[in-house]
Amino acid sequence: MSTTSSTIINLPDQRTATLPKRNYLNNEHGLLSWLLTGDHKRIAILYLISITFFFFIGGVFAGLIRLELLTPQPDLMASDTYNKMFSMHGIVMIFLFLVPSVPATLGNFLIPIMLGTRDLAFPKINLLSWYLYLAGGTFTLAALIFGGVDTGWTFTTPLSTHYLNTNVVTAATAIFIAGFSSIFTGLNFIVTIHRMRAPGMTWFRMPLFVWAHYAASVLMVLGTPVLAITIVLVALERTIGIGVFDPTKGGDPLLFQHLFWFYSHPAVYIMILPGMGVISEIVSTFSRKRVFGYTAVAFSSVAIALFGFFVWAHHMFIMGVSNYSALVFSLLTMLVAVPSAIKIFNWAFTLQKGSITFETPMLYAFAFFGLFTIGGMTGVFLGALGMDIHLTETYFIVAHFHYVMVGGMLMAFLGGIHFWWPKMTGRMYPESFSKLSAVTSFIGFNLTFMPQFILGYLGMPRRYHAYPAEYQVLNVLSTAGATVLGVGFLLPLLYLTWSLRYGAIAGNNPWQATGLEWQIQSPPLTENFIETPIVDHEAYDYEWLAHKTQQEVTTVG
């Protein structure tokens, strides 16, 4: 590799850095300047605060679930309460944390800057989507306060329409509204990526972060409306008694499953794709190399989005779909492993002969590699028809899902937050603490969910609050791991808040990364760029950066 000779390994000296006088944070003051802002960066911060709030609410439910499962007997809460716990955990974590996590915070903040433009195409719609998110969150909290929901996050009919007297309609409204928040975010991204790129920013010069968000946005725009209408039908069935899913009136509950999973399977790609975009940026930056097989990684995002629409029935193998369609869906499910593997292998090749350093974001990226690979591989187990019958509805599937979503997405989210924290706030996070928290969450995570794979394989079903005594050892391990994991998630909240005031000043480009966002001041100006940049180099061009840095030095003298 001839390019490695010119890569920059020395990071700039941050003691000389100063905070810029004028930036998007101090441009305007007062609460209203935040609540009525059209600035994508401020909206990203608003999102960051609100999703963190809901993440910890969802986390409390997770903690209570694990606490109940510490002993085989149902001793902490009644079975109904337990049902509400895991339902609220799922609803909050999926619709209010995972779906908006990376796109609405990092994507919102970075996509316009990465494309070299001043804002997203529709700033007001961007703000509207944050308010819709808040409205969805409020309805969720209302459902919680009025007594919770116990359908599970899947709203399975006819359980949700006929047999429960909990707040299904309130929770359904919450999801309907939050869904539109996600549709508008996706729509804004697609229009921005198509129409707002700076001169010279061709499709294949875009950072892979943008490609991943493009693919995820397509899923949001095409998938979410189907969930919306499904939720409407459930609500209508529950309130006025129409019969689309009701077998006593001729409806078919299986139709609900088809419509629900038509969104909810692509939804897991909405959740993971932006995380993959984050990993591409981090891996390239801390290996000081262009991402290996840029085009393949870009297209694999699109391929995941495309295949993602044709695998939904693998959630329904045990629900009585025909054997032939199960066979086809099983094969299509295996197909998704191909683009996912393309990504993993290309990242691995990016590392090869790179000048790797182990800053915190890179630690999270490594956690992502391991955990996402395990999560993905176990997904293939579940896609295989015979295995699925044994493993589905057990803790195996819980572990699989959490390996992909927490081990994959959450690690990517935290990695991304650490990576761009200097850009967003202008200050560095404390390196030693953050490394500790990255390692803590990695250990805690494995301790929590690895035993669940075994539990599931042994046959412990999910969504029960009591279990045979022989499963206790593994459950105790899992609960202990959850405690460690909780510490690992709480630490960043504390030291990142601390760093807002006391963190070292970051400077423009603390990582010597190539993205356009690193070439402007941190925190950026409200208008991002003083003049529209003209892009004349590929993404991840470290020679260009080295050349540019040399030029800067000579001009300063």
Partner: protein
């Protein structure tokens, strides 16, 4: 010099000429768009994307319709015959008329005729209300016939169709009770689909009020037609949904009974 905001590449002096865009200072021009052309294109593109989400939204319902129509064919035929084709046809004409006036409205905005634009928007609104009024009459009819799904749904008319006084024959092929029960699925879909369509009409009418008010104060008389144009797309989309709903719900397999 960490704070230096160096954005452009040093070797791009010759291309930097492109930078000096002639910034059009129209009031509707938003600061983050380079040109007004870009703003307009982005707006229209965004609207088309939104319509795509709407297709997916209605798509779920159409899929359910397709499925159940194949399963419960006889029930769907009988239930469909209960709909009032005359009112449905009148409504179709009204909606097409409304779309026509909307198209004229876009034209009026483009040629900058304020009063014409207001007139056409008002006519669009009036026809929108007319549609909803007739829809109300139809819904009321269903209410009286106990065709609204739920507790009061009555299948007796499908099991024992009334006898026609002139011919002395049943006016409709009688259904077995279990198949008659499935007419409830048809009416569930009928109300869900036309109801969702009506909700879109109501949202459209609210937007029409707002646009008419803005048009009255001359906002769209200076060549700024994007909101009118984009709303036009939405309104036509709602029309088109009805153009699918009408044959699927009212006309499909409508056959004269001998």
């Amino acid at each position: 010099m960490d704070n230096a905001v160096v954005v452009t590449h040093p070797h791009t002096h010759e291309t930097a000429v492109h930078e000096e865009h002639h910034h059009v200072a129209l009031p509707q021009h938003r600061h983050h768009f380079e040109t007004e052309e870009q703003q307009r294109e982005a707006g229209t593109f965004g609207m088309w994307l939104f319509l795509l989400t709407e297709i997916m939204f209605f798509g779920g319902l159409f899929f359910a319709y397709l499925l159940y129509r194949n399963w419960y064919y006889d029930a769907f035929v009988s239930a469909s015959n209960q709909l009032n084709v005359t009112l449905g046809a009148i409504n179709t004409v009204i909606l097409i008329g409304s779309g026509f006036f909307m198209a004229l409205g876009v034209w009026a905005a483009e040629v900058r005729k304020r009063s014409l634009l207001v007139l056409f928007l008002v006519l669009t609104t009036v026809l929108g209300f007319a549609f909803l009024g007739i829809k109300y009459v139809e819904y009321h009819e269903k209410w009286e016939k106990h065709h609204i799904p739920g507790e009061h749904f009555d299948i007796s008319e499908f099991v024992n169709p009334p006898i026609d006084a002139k011919t002395g024959k049943a006016s409709e092929k009688p259904l077995a009770p279990d198949m008659a029960q499935k007419t409830q699925v048809f009416f569930s879909l009928y109300f869900a689909m036309t109801g969702m369509h009506a909700v879109h009409m109501i949202i459209g009418i609210v937007l029409l009020f707002w646009l008419t008010w803005r048009a009255y104060y001359g906002e769209f008389s200076s060549g700024y037609v994007a909101p009118i144009e984009n709303f036009g797309l939405y309104w036509h989309f709602v029309d088109i949904v009805w153009l699918f709903l009408f044959p699927l719900l009212y006309l499909i397999n409508r056959h004269p009974l001998k």
